[in-house]
Protein backbone atom coordinates (compact mmCIF):
# COMPACT_ATOMS: atom_id res chain seq x y z
CA UNK A 1 0.00 0.00 0.00
CA UNK A 2 2.80 2.33 0.97
CA UNK A 3 4.53 1.56 -2.27
CA UNK A 4 1.39 2.32 -4.22
CA UNK A 5 1.12 5.62 -2.41
CA UNK A 6 4.68 6.56 -3.18
CA UNK A 7 4.16 5.54 -6.78
CA UNK A 8 1.00 7.60 -7.00
CA UNK A 9 2.63 10.66 -5.51
CA UNK A 10 5.63 10.20 -7.76
CA UNK A 11 3.38 9.77 -10.79
CA UNK A 12 1.65 13.03 -9.95
CA UNK A 13 4.76 14.87 -8.96
CA UNK A 14 7.13 14.04 -11.78
CA UNK A 15 5.03 15.57 -14.54
CA UNK A 16 4.26 18.54 -12.29
CA UNK A 17 7.94 19.25 -11.76
CA UNK A 18 8.69 18.62 -15.40
CA UNK A 19 5.88 20.99 -16.30
CA UNK A 20 7.07 23.68 -13.92
CA UNK A 21 10.47 23.62 -15.55
CA UNK A 22 9.03 22.62 -18.92
CA UNK A 23 6.99 24.60 -21.38
CA UNK A 24 6.37 27.35 -18.82
CA UNK A 25 9.95 28.35 -18.35
CA UNK A 26 10.54 28.56 -22.10
CA UNK A 27 7.44 30.69 -22.52
CA UNK A 28 8.30 32.97 -19.59
CA UNK A 29 11.84 33.36 -20.94
CA UNK A 30 10.59 34.13 -24.41
CA UNK A 31 8.10 36.70 -23.13
CA UNK A 32 10.72 38.41 -20.97
CA UNK A 33 13.20 38.63 -23.85
CA UNK A 34 10.50 39.80 -26.24
CA UNK A 35 9.53 42.58 -23.82
CA UNK A 36 13.17 43.68 -23.81
CA UNK A 37 13.34 43.47 -27.61
CA UNK A 38 10.25 45.66 -27.93
CA UNK A 39 11.67 48.17 -25.45
CA UNK A 40 14.94 48.32 -27.42
CA UNK A 41 13.14 48.96 -30.69
CA UNK A 42 10.79 51.44 -29.01
CA UNK A 43 13.81 53.44 -27.83
CA UNK A 44 15.75 53.22 -31.10
CA UNK A 45 12.64 54.43 -32.99
CA UNK A 46 12.58 57.55 -30.80
CA UNK A 47 16.18 58.40 -31.64
CA UNK A 48 15.61 57.80 -35.35
CA UNK A 49 12.55 60.03 -35.38
CA UNK A 50 14.77 63.10 -35.00
CA UNK A 51 12.48 64.33 -32.21
CA UNK A 52 12.91 61.83 -29.35
CA UNK A 53 10.22 61.83 -26.67
CA UNK A 54 11.91 61.40 -23.29
CA UNK A 55 8.69 60.12 -21.71
CA UNK A 56 8.56 57.19 -24.14
CA UNK A 57 12.25 56.48 -23.59
CA UNK A 58 11.76 56.53 -19.81
CA UNK A 59 8.90 54.01 -20.08
CA UNK A 60 11.07 51.70 -22.18
CA UNK A 61 14.01 52.08 -19.79
CA UNK A 62 11.71 51.03 -16.94
CA UNK A 63 10.65 47.91 -18.85
CA UNK A 64 14.30 47.01 -19.46
CA UNK A 65 15.33 47.65 -15.86
CA UNK A 66 12.47 45.46 -14.63
CA UNK A 67 13.06 42.61 -17.06
CA UNK A 68 16.87 42.43 -16.87
CA UNK A 69 17.22 41.02 -13.33
CA UNK A 70 14.79 38.20 -14.20
CA UNK A 71 17.04 36.76 -16.91
CA UNK A 72 19.56 35.09 -14.59
CA UNK A 73 16.88 32.98 -12.87
CA UNK A 74 15.29 31.84 -16.12
CA UNK A 75 17.89 29.27 -17.05
CA UNK A 76 17.53 26.33 -14.64
CA UNK A 77 19.59 23.25 -15.56
CA UNK A 78 17.94 21.14 -18.25
CA UNK A 79 16.16 23.99 -20.03
CA UNK A 80 18.32 24.09 -23.14
CA UNK A 81 17.56 22.28 -26.41
CA UNK A 82 17.13 19.03 -24.46
CA UNK A 83 13.77 20.29 -23.17
CA UNK A 84 12.69 22.17 -26.28
CA UNK A 85 14.31 21.60 -29.66
CA UNK A 86 13.47 25.16 -30.68
CA UNK A 87 15.41 26.73 -27.82
CA UNK A 88 18.44 28.74 -28.77
CA UNK A 89 20.02 28.48 -25.33
CA UNK A 90 23.53 27.07 -25.75
CA UNK A 91 25.05 24.45 -23.39
CA UNK A 92 27.74 27.05 -22.57
CA UNK A 93 25.22 28.63 -20.18
CA UNK A 94 25.60 25.66 -17.85
CA UNK A 95 29.21 24.85 -18.71
CA UNK A 96 30.53 28.33 -17.89
CA UNK A 97 28.23 29.57 -15.13
CA UNK A 98 30.66 32.31 -14.03
CA UNK A 99 30.82 33.83 -17.53
CA UNK A 100 27.05 33.62 -17.85
CA UNK A 101 26.61 35.36 -14.49
CA UNK A 102 29.02 38.09 -15.61
CA UNK A 103 27.01 38.60 -18.83
CA UNK A 104 23.85 38.87 -16.72
CA UNK A 105 25.47 41.38 -14.39
CA UNK A 106 26.56 43.48 -17.35
CA UNK A 107 22.94 43.56 -18.57
CA UNK A 108 21.54 44.49 -15.15
CA UNK A 109 24.15 47.22 -14.63
CA UNK A 110 23.62 48.65 -18.12
CA UNK A 111 19.83 48.80 -17.78
CA UNK A 112 20.15 50.45 -14.36
CA UNK A 113 22.55 53.05 -15.75
CA UNK A 114 20.23 53.61 -18.71
CA UNK A 115 17.27 54.21 -16.43
CA UNK A 116 19.34 56.60 -14.32
CA UNK A 117 20.39 58.52 -17.44
CA UNK A 118 16.77 58.92 -18.60
CA UNK A 119 15.98 60.48 -15.23
CA UNK A 120 18.49 63.28 -15.90
CA UNK A 121 17.12 63.90 -19.39
CA UNK A 122 20.59 64.62 -20.85
CA UNK A 123 20.03 63.19 -24.33
CA UNK A 124 23.70 62.55 -25.11
CA UNK A 125 24.07 60.56 -21.90
CA UNK A 126 20.77 58.75 -22.57
CA UNK A 127 21.94 57.75 -26.02
CA UNK A 128 25.30 56.55 -24.74
CA UNK A 129 23.72 54.51 -21.94
CA UNK A 130 21.28 53.01 -24.42
CA UNK A 131 24.16 51.91 -26.65
CA UNK A 132 25.72 50.19 -23.63
CA UNK A 133 22.49 48.22 -23.03
CA UNK A 134 22.55 47.05 -26.66
CA UNK A 135 26.18 46.05 -26.21
CA UNK A 136 25.26 43.94 -23.17
CA UNK A 137 22.57 42.05 -25.15
CA UNK A 138 24.99 41.38 -27.97
CA UNK A 139 27.76 40.35 -25.57
CA UNK A 140 25.65 37.57 -24.08
CA UNK A 141 24.04 36.45 -27.34
CA UNK A 142 27.45 36.01 -28.96
CA UNK A 143 28.52 33.42 -26.42
CA UNK A 144 25.31 31.91 -25.11
CA UNK A 145 22.69 32.00 -27.84
CA UNK A 146 22.71 29.89 -30.96
CA UNK A 147 23.10 32.14 -34.00
CA UNK A 148 19.91 32.20 -36.06
CA UNK A 149 21.23 33.03 -39.50
Amino acid sequence: MKLAHTALIAALLVPAVAFAAGPNIYKARHDNFEAMGRAMKGTADQFKSGNPDIAVIRANAAVLAAAAPKVAGMFPKGTGVEGNPKSEALPAIWQKPADFAAANKRLVDATKAFQAATATGDMTAVQGAFGAVGGSCKNCHESFRKPRA
Binding site: K41, D45, K48, G50, Q127, R148
Partner: protein
Protein backbone atom coordinates in the same frame (compact mmCIF):
# COMPACT_ATOMS: atom_id res chain seq x y z
CA UNK B 1 30.82 22.92 -100.46
CA UNK B 2 32.65 25.35 -98.21
CA UNK B 3 31.63 26.65 -94.84
CA UNK B 4 30.12 30.13 -95.00
CA UNK B 5 32.47 32.82 -93.73
CA UNK B 6 31.82 33.39 -90.00
CA UNK B 7 29.51 36.31 -89.46
CA UNK B 8 30.87 39.16 -87.30
CA UNK B 9 29.93 38.98 -83.62
CA UNK B 10 27.33 41.42 -82.36
CA UNK B 11 27.37 43.23 -79.02
CA UNK B 12 24.65 41.27 -77.20
CA UNK B 13 24.95 42.45 -73.57
CA UNK B 14 26.24 45.92 -72.79
CA UNK B 15 28.74 46.60 -70.01
CA UNK B 16 26.17 47.77 -67.40
CA UNK B 17 24.12 44.55 -67.75
CA UNK B 18 27.23 42.41 -67.35
CA UNK B 19 28.58 44.42 -64.43
CA UNK B 20 25.25 44.23 -62.62
CA UNK B 21 25.00 40.51 -63.31
CA UNK B 22 28.43 39.52 -62.00
CA UNK B 23 28.17 41.96 -59.10
CA UNK B 24 25.08 40.06 -58.00
CA UNK B 25 26.92 36.76 -58.10
CA UNK B 26 29.67 38.17 -55.86
CA UNK B 27 27.19 40.03 -53.62
CA UNK B 28 25.00 36.99 -53.09
CA UNK B 29 27.95 35.02 -51.74
CA UNK B 30 29.17 37.95 -49.64
CA UNK B 31 25.69 38.67 -48.28
CA UNK B 32 25.26 35.08 -47.24
CA UNK B 33 28.73 34.88 -45.65
CA UNK B 34 28.34 38.15 -43.72
CA UNK B 35 24.90 37.19 -42.42
CA UNK B 36 26.10 33.74 -41.42
CA UNK B 37 29.03 35.19 -39.45
CA UNK B 38 26.90 37.78 -37.69
CA UNK B 39 28.70 40.70 -39.37
CA UNK B 40 25.40 42.55 -39.66
CA UNK B 41 27.03 45.94 -40.20
CA UNK B 42 28.83 44.66 -43.30
CA UNK B 43 25.72 42.74 -44.35
CA UNK B 44 23.69 45.97 -44.29
CA UNK B 45 26.30 47.84 -46.36
CA UNK B 46 26.36 45.08 -48.96
CA UNK B 47 22.56 44.95 -48.97
CA UNK B 48 22.42 48.68 -49.71
CA UNK B 49 24.84 48.17 -52.62
CA UNK B 50 22.51 45.42 -53.86
CA UNK B 51 19.62 47.89 -53.55
CA UNK B 52 21.49 50.47 -55.65
CA UNK B 53 22.28 47.84 -58.29
CA UNK B 54 18.67 46.71 -58.41
CA UNK B 55 17.36 50.25 -58.81
CA UNK B 56 19.95 50.80 -61.53
CA UNK B 57 18.86 47.60 -63.31
CA UNK B 58 15.20 48.64 -63.17
CA UNK B 59 16.02 52.06 -64.66
CA UNK B 60 18.25 50.39 -67.24
CA UNK B 61 15.31 48.15 -68.13
CA UNK B 62 13.44 51.31 -69.13
CA UNK B 63 16.09 53.40 -70.87
CA UNK B 64 19.06 51.04 -71.44
CA UNK B 65 20.31 49.12 -74.45
CA UNK B 66 17.73 47.20 -76.44
CA UNK B 67 18.59 43.77 -74.94
CA UNK B 68 18.35 45.22 -71.42
CA UNK B 69 14.88 46.70 -71.82
CA UNK B 70 11.87 45.02 -70.23
CA UNK B 71 9.66 46.08 -73.12
CA UNK B 72 11.95 44.12 -75.42
CA UNK B 73 11.93 40.81 -73.59
CA UNK B 74 8.70 40.51 -71.60
CA UNK B 75 6.43 38.37 -73.74
CA UNK B 76 2.97 36.86 -73.25
CA UNK B 77 2.22 33.16 -72.62
CA UNK B 78 1.56 32.51 -76.31
CA UNK B 79 5.12 33.56 -77.24
CA UNK B 80 6.52 31.42 -74.42
CA UNK B 81 4.58 28.35 -75.65
CA UNK B 82 5.66 28.97 -79.21
CA UNK B 83 9.30 29.34 -78.12
CA UNK B 84 9.12 26.09 -76.12
CA UNK B 85 7.70 24.23 -79.13
CA UNK B 86 10.48 25.70 -81.28
CA UNK B 87 13.16 24.38 -78.89
CA UNK B 88 12.71 20.89 -80.33
CA UNK B 89 13.41 22.16 -83.83
CA UNK B 90 17.19 22.31 -84.33
CA UNK B 91 16.82 25.00 -87.01
CA UNK B 92 14.73 27.48 -85.05
CA UNK B 93 15.69 31.10 -85.55
CA UNK B 94 18.08 32.49 -82.90
CA UNK B 95 16.79 34.97 -80.34
CA UNK B 96 19.00 38.04 -79.95
CA UNK B 97 18.67 38.89 -76.25
CA UNK B 98 16.50 37.10 -73.73
CA UNK B 99 14.22 34.45 -75.17
CA UNK B 100 10.52 34.63 -74.12
CA UNK B 101 11.03 32.18 -71.24
CA UNK B 102 14.40 33.64 -70.20
CA UNK B 103 12.79 37.08 -69.99
CA UNK B 104 10.47 35.81 -67.28
CA UNK B 105 13.37 34.23 -65.46
CA UNK B 106 15.05 37.67 -65.37
CA UNK B 107 11.86 39.17 -63.93
CA UNK B 108 11.61 36.40 -61.36
CA UNK B 109 15.24 36.82 -60.26
CA UNK B 110 15.02 40.60 -60.07
CA UNK B 111 11.69 40.30 -58.25
CA UNK B 112 13.10 37.85 -55.70
CA UNK B 113 16.16 40.01 -55.12
CA UNK B 114 13.97 43.09 -54.81
CA UNK B 115 11.72 41.38 -52.28
CA UNK B 116 14.72 40.20 -50.31
CA UNK B 117 16.21 43.71 -50.22
CA UNK B 118 12.87 45.24 -49.19
CA UNK B 119 12.50 42.75 -46.32
CA UNK B 120 16.07 43.40 -45.23
CA UNK B 121 15.45 47.14 -44.99
CA UNK B 122 12.75 46.76 -42.33
CA UNK B 123 13.99 43.64 -40.58
CA UNK B 124 15.58 43.41 -37.14
CA UNK B 125 17.95 41.09 -35.41
CA UNK B 126 16.33 38.70 -32.90
CA UNK B 127 16.94 41.16 -30.09
CA UNK B 128 15.21 44.02 -31.86
CA UNK B 129 18.49 45.90 -31.62
CA UNK B 130 20.44 45.51 -34.83
CA UNK B 131 17.98 46.65 -37.46
CA UNK B 132 17.66 47.67 -41.09
CA UNK B 133 17.64 51.39 -41.97
CA UNK B 134 13.84 51.45 -42.38
CA UNK B 135 13.03 49.31 -39.31
CA UNK B 136 11.63 52.33 -37.45
CA UNK B 137 8.87 52.67 -40.05
CA UNK B 138 7.29 49.31 -39.11
CA UNK B 139 6.09 47.70 -35.88
CA UNK B 140 8.05 45.13 -33.88
CA UNK B 141 5.76 42.33 -35.09
CA UNK B 142 6.02 43.36 -38.73
CA UNK B 143 9.79 43.47 -38.39
CA UNK B 144 9.79 39.98 -36.81
CA UNK B 145 7.71 38.70 -39.73
CA UNK B 146 10.10 40.40 -42.15
CA UNK B 147 13.01 38.68 -40.44
CA UNK B 148 11.44 35.28 -40.92
CA UNK B 149 10.58 36.00 -44.56
CA UNK B 150 14.09 37.39 -45.15
CA UNK B 151 15.46 34.04 -44.01
CA UNK B 152 13.02 32.15 -46.26
CA UNK B 153 13.68 34.51 -49.16
CA UNK B 154 17.33 33.57 -49.36
CA UNK B 155 16.39 29.90 -49.79
CA UNK B 156 13.98 30.86 -52.57
CA UNK B 157 16.77 32.79 -54.28
CA UNK B 158 19.09 29.80 -53.95
CA UNK B 159 16.47 27.51 -55.48
CA UNK B 160 16.01 29.94 -58.33
CA UNK B 161 19.75 30.32 -58.90
CA UNK B 162 19.93 26.52 -59.13
CA UNK B 163 17.19 26.56 -61.75
CA UNK B 164 19.02 29.37 -63.57
CA UNK B 165 22.25 27.36 -63.63
CA UNK B 166 20.37 24.22 -64.75
CA UNK B 167 18.88 26.16 -67.67
CA UNK B 168 22.33 27.42 -68.67
CA UNK B 169 23.68 23.85 -68.47
CA UNK B 170 20.77 22.64 -70.61
CA UNK B 171 21.57 25.17 -73.35
CA UNK B 172 25.28 24.36 -73.14
CA UNK B 173 24.95 20.57 -73.24
CA UNK B 174 21.73 19.82 -75.13
CA UNK B 175 21.41 22.87 -77.35
CA UNK B 176 25.20 23.37 -77.75
CA UNK B 177 24.60 27.01 -77.05
CA UNK B 178 27.15 28.78 -74.85
CA UNK B 179 25.36 31.50 -72.89
CA UNK B 180 28.16 32.06 -70.40
CA UNK B 181 30.80 33.53 -72.75
CA UNK B 182 28.53 36.35 -74.01
CA UNK B 183 27.63 37.25 -70.41
CA UNK B 184 31.39 37.76 -69.85
CA UNK B 185 32.56 39.31 -73.13
CA UNK B 186 29.25 40.84 -74.13
CA UNK B 187 29.67 39.50 -77.68
CA UNK B 188 28.34 36.54 -79.56
CA UNK B 189 28.07 35.47 -83.18
CA UNK B 190 25.12 33.83 -84.87
CA UNK B 191 24.98 31.35 -87.77
CA UNK B 192 22.57 33.60 -89.62
CA UNK B 193 22.63 37.38 -90.04
CA UNK B 194 20.82 39.16 -87.20
CA UNK B 195 20.01 42.76 -86.37
CA UNK B 196 22.56 44.04 -83.89
CA UNK B 197 21.12 45.33 -80.58
CA UNK B 198 21.10 49.09 -80.00
CA UNK B 199 23.62 50.01 -77.31
CA UNK B 200 22.61 52.92 -75.10
CA UNK B 201 25.15 55.78 -74.61
CA UNK B 202 27.37 55.69 -71.51
CA UNK B 203 26.08 58.95 -70.08
CA UNK B 204 22.64 57.44 -69.74
CA UNK B 205 24.13 54.68 -67.60
CA UNK B 206 25.94 57.30 -65.53
CA UNK B 207 22.68 59.15 -64.97
CA UNK B 208 20.85 55.97 -63.93
CA UNK B 209 23.76 55.06 -61.60
CA UNK B 210 23.65 58.50 -59.97
CA UNK B 211 19.89 58.24 -59.44
CA UNK B 212 20.20 54.72 -58.01
CA UNK B 213 23.04 55.72 -55.68
CA UNK B 214 21.09 58.76 -54.46
CA UNK B 215 18.02 56.68 -53.67
CA UNK B 216 20.07 54.03 -51.86
CA UNK B 217 21.89 56.74 -49.92
CA UNK B 218 18.64 58.33 -48.81
CA UNK B 219 17.30 54.95 -47.68
CA UNK B 220 20.59 54.21 -45.89
CA UNK B 221 19.94 57.33 -43.79
CA UNK B 222 16.53 55.95 -42.82
CA UNK B 223 14.62 57.86 -45.54
CA UNK B 224 14.53 61.15 -43.59
CA UNK B 225 11.68 63.48 -44.55
CA UNK B 226 12.86 66.50 -42.60
CA UNK B 227 16.04 68.28 -41.53
CA UNK B 228 15.57 67.06 -37.94
CA UNK B 229 15.33 63.44 -39.08
CA UNK B 230 18.35 63.91 -41.30
CA UNK B 231 20.36 65.24 -38.36
CA UNK B 232 19.26 62.30 -36.18
CA UNK B 233 20.32 59.86 -38.86
CA UNK B 234 23.79 61.36 -39.01
CA UNK B 235 24.46 60.97 -35.31
CA UNK B 236 25.89 57.55 -34.58
CA UNK B 237 22.84 55.29 -34.34
CA UNK B 238 22.53 54.49 -30.63
CA UNK B 239 21.82 50.79 -30.92
CA UNK B 240 24.42 50.29 -33.61
CA UNK B 241 27.38 49.03 -31.73
CA UNK B 242 28.81 46.99 -34.59
Amino acid sequence: MTDPAPLPAVRLWDLPVRLVHWSFVVLLVALWASAENGAIGLHKTLGLIALALLVFRLLWGLVGSSTARFAGFIKGPASVRQYLRGLRDPHHAPVVGHNPLGGWSVIALLGLLGGQVALGLVTQDTDGVESGPLNHLVSYDTAELARELHELGFNLILAFVALHLAAIAYYRVIKRDNLIAPMITGRRSYAVPVTAPTIAPWWRAALCAALAAALAGWIALGAPRSAAELKASQEPPPADYM
